[in-house]
Subunit: 325 residues, 6 copies
Amino acid sequence: MPISLERMIHFVPPNIEKMRAKVPDLVNKVDVVLGNLEDAIPADAKSDARNGFIQLARENEFGSTGLWTRVNCLNSPWFLDDVMEIVQTVGDKLDVVMLPKVEGAWDIHYLDQLLAQLEAKGGLGKPILIHAILETAEGVKNVEQIAAASPRMHGMSLGPADLAASRGMKTTRVGGGHPDYAVLSDSDNSGVRTAFQQDLWHYTVGKMVDACLSYGLKPFYGPFGDFSDPQACESQFRNAFLMGCLGAWSLHPSQIEIAKKVFSPDPAEVAFARKILDAMPDGTGAVMIDGKMQDDATWKQAKVIVDLAQLVSSKDKELAEVYGF
Amino acid sequence: MPISLERMIHFVPPNIEKMRAKVPDLVNKVDVVLGNLEDAIPADAKSDARNGFIQLARENEFGSTGLWTRVNCLNSPWFLDDVMEIVQTVGDKLDVVMLPKVEGAWDIHYLDQLLAQLEAKGGLGKPILIHAILETAEGVKNVEQIAAASPRMHGMSLGPADLAASRGMKTTRVGGGHPDYAVLSDSDNSGVRTAFQQDLWHYTVGKMVDACLSYGLKPFYGPFGDFSDPQACESQFRNAFLMGCLGAWSLHPSQIEIAKKVFSPDPAEVAFARKILDAMPDGTGAVMIDGKMQDDATWKQAKVIVDLAQLVSSKDKELAEVYGF
Amino acid sequence: MPISLERMIHFVPPNIEKMRAKVPDLVNKVDVVLGNLEDAIPADAKSDARNGFIQLARENEFGSTGLWTRVNCLNSPWFLDDVMEIVQTVGDKLDVVMLPKVEGAWDIHYLDQLLAQLEAKGGLGKPILIHAILETAEGVKNVEQIAAASPRMHGMSLGPADLAASRGMKTTRVGGGHPDYAVLSDSDNSGVRTAFQQDLWHYTVGKMVDACLSYGLKPFYGPFGDFSDPQACESQFRNAFLMGCLGAWSLHPSQIEIAKKVFSPDPAEVAFARKILDAMPDGTGAVMIDGKMQDDATWKQAKVIVDLAQLVSSKDKELAEVYGF
Amino acid sequence: MPISLERMIHFVPPNIEKMRAKVPDLVNKVDVVLGNLEDAIPADAKSDARNGFIQLARENEFGSTGLWTRVNCLNSPWFLDDVMEIVQTVGDKLDVVMLPKVEGAWDIHYLDQLLAQLEAKGGLGKPILIHAILETAEGVKNVEQIAAASPRMHGMSLGPADLAASRGMKTTRVGGGHPDYAVLSDSDNSGVRTAFQQDLWHYTVGKMVDACLSYGLKPFYGPFGDFSDPQACESQFRNAFLMGCLGAWSLHPSQIEIAKKVFSPDPAEVAFARKILDAMPDGTGAVMIDGKMQDDATWKQAKVIVDLAQLVSSKDKELAEVYGF
Amino acid sequence: MPISLERMIHFVPPNIEKMRAKVPDLVNKVDVVLGNLEDAIPADAKSDARNGFIQLARENEFGSTGLWTRVNCLNSPWFLDDVMEIVQTVGDKLDVVMLPKVEGAWDIHYLDQLLAQLEAKGGLGKPILIHAILETAEGVKNVEQIAAASPRMHGMSLGPADLAASRGMKTTRVGGGHPDYAVLSDSDNSGVRTAFQQDLWHYTVGKMVDACLSYGLKPFYGPFGDFSDPQACESQFRNAFLMGCLGAWSLHPSQIEIAKKVFSPDPAEVAFARKILDAMPDGTGAVMIDGKMQDDATWKQAKVIVDLAQLVSSKDKELAEVYGF
Amino acid sequence: MPISLERMIHFVPPNIEKMRAKVPDLVNKVDVVLGNLEDAIPADAKSDARNGFIQLARENEFGSTGLWTRVNCLNSPWFLDDVMEIVQTVGDKLDVVMLPKVEGAWDIHYLDQLLAQLEAKGGLGKPILIHAILETAEGVKNVEQIAAASPRMHGMSLGPADLAASRGMKTTRVGGGHPDYAVLSDSDNSGVRTAFQQDLWHYTVGKMVDACLSYGLKPFYGPFGDFSDPQACESQFRNAFLMGCLGAWSLHPSQIEIAKKVFSPDPAEVAFARKILDAMPDGTGAVMIDGKMQDDATWKQAKVIVDLAQLVSSKDKELAEVYGF
């Protein structure tokens, strides 16, 4: 598995020429460019989107920026053409296929074999990876089998909109909180009760992260639907980051910078983490730093942050300077 | 599986004549009438309760209102008589048997076979369904196997009191929050720390909902014990509704209206959801509504809400008008 | 499985003579004395720690206070000597081996067999138990198999620092909350948005508790790293207590009293619980107490609290008086 | 599990008065008397058979001879009455319920719970055991789960007639060989080819024996249908004995002696086995006896035979003398 | 699953024009015509074979005779084209795809999805079924999962040649016995020892039959390689028939009649079986026929044979007369 | 996994000096020298055997001949010392540890970890492999999990004596047939019935071979106990060879030559197999050789034999000549 920086997976509708025209610029701004063929692409634009993606892939050089596509789901009439045409034309440039609505290991088995056969036919030297969207109740139930289904698995994204529909959650928001999910406190001394809002996605993100990390995969948060609320978007992204996610989707240009900010570790945290590593050169023993005990375990926590900062620095010169690498 | 409106499962102690006398009235007020034989019925009233339920079932017509019973648990001395006598006398009127303290698939296998044999003997044409109460640590661990154990499964209810005891949770409350479950914030600029109360049931409800929806079953929240606190009851019910539950238990008449209010979707949400459906007639593509992007996935979220509103409307004429159906 | 009071597992670095000297005093203050050989013990002090533990075990009488050791992890160069030397010298005094970084049932199978063989060789009459630390993503995924892996299993502790590193959680704190994990509310009438902080550990503790209780094991919270923040420590411990844990680790003397306070039930709760038990002598039926309905299920919740109070009373005479036992 | 001698399970049709009259005599001749309610009892005699069995059980004393019944299968209209009426009337005298057509663990779960509840109601002190008939393709597939399904499992019998039908084997024989199942040799020097007949049941018996012994259960061969061919019956029984079975069914009085002869070990084998045990008093090392090497492993093989001879001797004084016990 | 007579699956090499020319004639002689694209077709004739099959399918009407194809295996460069071109051109005429070298459920998942997508694209109304060849050690290990992998599963064939190679069996024969697999008897009275030849395939056929019948699939024996030995071929086919198989492959025209003879039940057996059915009109009770006891179980054995005879009669008028239908 | 020739695993009792003295000679005669510490070694000679093995390992050079030990079983008082002392002294010369009485994957997990830790301590560069003896009913039931339990698995041997005892098979023979396991034919025209002896081990060997080959392990037959019957020994070995085994144990010098003869392929078979390979250079297509059809599948069967002949030739110059390599 190549180690790549994937703070935001930026969605492009490849059926729209104006959007394809922005790709050369995007390549320098985002970590991953994804040509979206599925949800949000109207039924009558599906083949334009597929052809647009092939064109987009051919006409651009991506360097260290990832090139992904989200294909239509397995029980749609478009899936087979999506995969076959794209792999047979631009398979050598494609890094990852994002597969929506994955229900169980059998869905991965299918795409895995199909890619294997198309790669063999096309003489492709590098395996195309699979990224699953976790967006049905059954998918969440089977997340560990999905993670284990193929060595081709890259990671997973939580898809909160489809998942909400599949579970019968009564919300029309896409990600983020809902004011009605709250615990009501007892009355305080002055008789006031507070409704403490809760995170709708805690269990789902936690289970997905454990499944991913158990098999060496990368967990991601997916879309945040309300483009007019950058603060809530940032808050949702940050929660995912805290719990172990490595990136999120950007559906709107304004979300690129939010993702970049959230998924690049905080310089102060990085500085503190480096202090820990410096104080314990061999990673064993115990030291007190700023009044908090550090030992072999916190050394590993610090290493997670410093490693990520180094990966960010390799791509982002500005941040490299801020971090001091 | 018949599609029924089951916003509240109303508990009646059938050993008490006065309560049985209210049933004709109840049938028009609630979605489900449940004759309770288990917890809250004293040991020396168990056979009165069983006989009372049979009488209650015989003497009333239920129309589209469900008739359920909660039998005593499998390792009690009453279970076998509960099931045999009730199915052999009023099996043709009984919709669902609620089975408490389900630990694993084996418990469902037992009731499933017993019902099959009694139905065959009694020449019953319609299968009696099973509703499991999730109220032990082992039951939560095995929730997916329980959901898959029989095509006779109707759904599940979370039973917070028994579950708290089984897990060793240190609370005597029945459902709702507990002031001691809170995350303490860091000090803010003025040195103040806030204790943010948390939802004790998030993980459990989430896991139950995924298991239910994976097998086409219906998830419910169970009892709320403090009858004197309708606000906390409403808050607890609403959390369940948000996370995917379709109803809750009403143990006290005052909780009927709470359940009705919570488990019927909010008219404003319904109106917004209808806008989404109207804007995307074939369910594909992307549109902006009130500044939020909608696509195939949010279309499905909207459909969950509109479908529920229609189901509610089929029973509740007042709400039908409010929703505009 | 012996029933023991284990509100705090107190960590002692046995390589340090000064710390060993405090053990006779500790035995009267804590419920469990643990000689730590793993994280926080520098590589070059590992054999001193092992020898120090053997000396400490030999030189003290522990009475009803538990004697545990935390050995180095299975893929370290110290594990085999840790177990063999300790069991062969002071196996008759050792109650529990705490095994770090358990990934799956296979790790327990190994220690189980090794202990069996050393016990047989040494003619030990009482089986040494195993306590697993849950501190990797894979361990959390496999927690049910770990719980079921051997009749020698005593329980589990959540290890938040290693677990955070294993999951890629972006925090350098050891347990407790993180200010960045919060749900941002919608604007209220005055346009104010609140960030409601969330519990990072809810899913993990919930899953661990269910796995433990399904197999009759004891769940524990592990370390709280910031010794200078007793309030946050208490808050973290209390969350675990509420969700079903029976104790926590004390890494610093100041945490002993915090654990004692949290993991001994509140006298007011105990008094209320006794009222319930008194009102329902055979545990069936329904009564109203202080406006809240009590039945067979809340009777069990009350019993959890009263049983714990009785266990505490057997060791702590002061509290026995407070509880009125 | 009590250790009993069960060389033959003798089938009695309890609906026939003349057959019931023979039971007092049978008790001294056979190891197990089984009242058959299932196959071979006509539909219109089912309740006579059930009542006849109850009468038979009441009117006789069975001493060390087992009393079993074979009830009708789970999807028949008679099963529930069979079990309920028999356990509620003569449950204290009944040792084992033989359950036909077991498909999976779920079938055992059902009978297990039903017996538990009837035992509890009837205040029976000794658990009634379950003996499963392995007679469907699915049952053979699931034999290990069936064996593990309950601590109440006594053992299993291979039912070759139903199993042949379930598998689509093209034979109308009940047990034994079939002339068409044979391997044709190559031509020998004189051009002759031999058809070597094969054992139709090798795989099935082998798999059943492994499943049984893995869970401490007893394997049996079932019926041999051709009463006019005692030699083939003896051959079939002996094959089962060799492969690990402890007894077989006798459907005709003439088969009682065949079973007794086959399932009591051969005196010469017993004498040889005792030589081995005598030569290796502690069961370790190696000796040569009659030119064959004996070691710890053959000591165990010898013990199997000597233990069985001793069990036979405890019931059969004649054989005891022959064996020299 | 349609009920079809499939006594022989006749292999045709569709790359050879002369063989294609015989198909119109074959359709009346065999139960299934299979166009073979895999083993025995040279690498440089693969696309000729595929095109030949399409032509053969187009140019003939098959009536009640099955049309199957054996495609190349999943890790070959030909599989994808085989399936796509054939289903897209003659999918409406194709009954079954035979898939070689199936290792586990994942292989079936793949073909299942691919067929589903191609059927949807082509608007095919009738699902194309899958027949798996069991011919690797791993396939035999996983046979139950393979059987359960899809509702599209038709059945399985044992492939003895590849299986022998996969297991490292030291034989170059294709099916049938091997003179070296024999049990050597003890010396008889005259000092003679006999080598009793054994069936190499007993375990494999038994396990495959149980897996198939557990999931409602049809088991088949595959090829017999020595065309010059019709007797051994008949013996091999008959063993499979006895153990539950419904047909075999014919690789040479001479094997068609052998299969027809073996897999049509023996008229004498049919006559005897009809006697049993006639004697027990409701299938319960016990009767003696020709000295052998018959009961509900043998009634089912008889029914297997009579049902098969009726199916044969529906296609083969000559045999219908012999059977007397 | 190194590719080694292991036609016979020759057992040496290392406690007997005279036997150790023969090792230098043995190294040239056998493929594997195994120092036996378990069955056949008396309890009071266990530590002599262990020390003798260490001495034997130190004093000899083994070249391409394997050096194995069979340690005492896991629940014996000797296992731990066997493994620790041997690996710590002569671990660098030891190829394989043979583990007796393996019941499930957990037993392999234990030895696997113990070897890992001892190898790490001793700085051993080459992993010591594990060979499991399959000799209990539970082991046979779990054979697939055992095969999959560790990458350190070398293979398995069938242990017929212990297995017979574990299953309750009524035989005191070690391997080979038993005259009582036979199918009795119907009478022929002259009224003669033949008892066709059957293979007691067919199912067990078949299941073991499939499990081994599914995971890339090597299957072996174990001991043949009657040293005075070389013909029966050869017959037993040959059956194992036919079914896929690669070697057997030699417990007596006379069995070395038997194993060599059986497990080296027959020169005539090798010659025929080479014809097949020569006729199909690329392994595809179909040819007739000596009247038998050959295709891609028989090509693989032929390759199994030719590959083995080449491996034999690399060690045995005489056979190399016979084979013509």
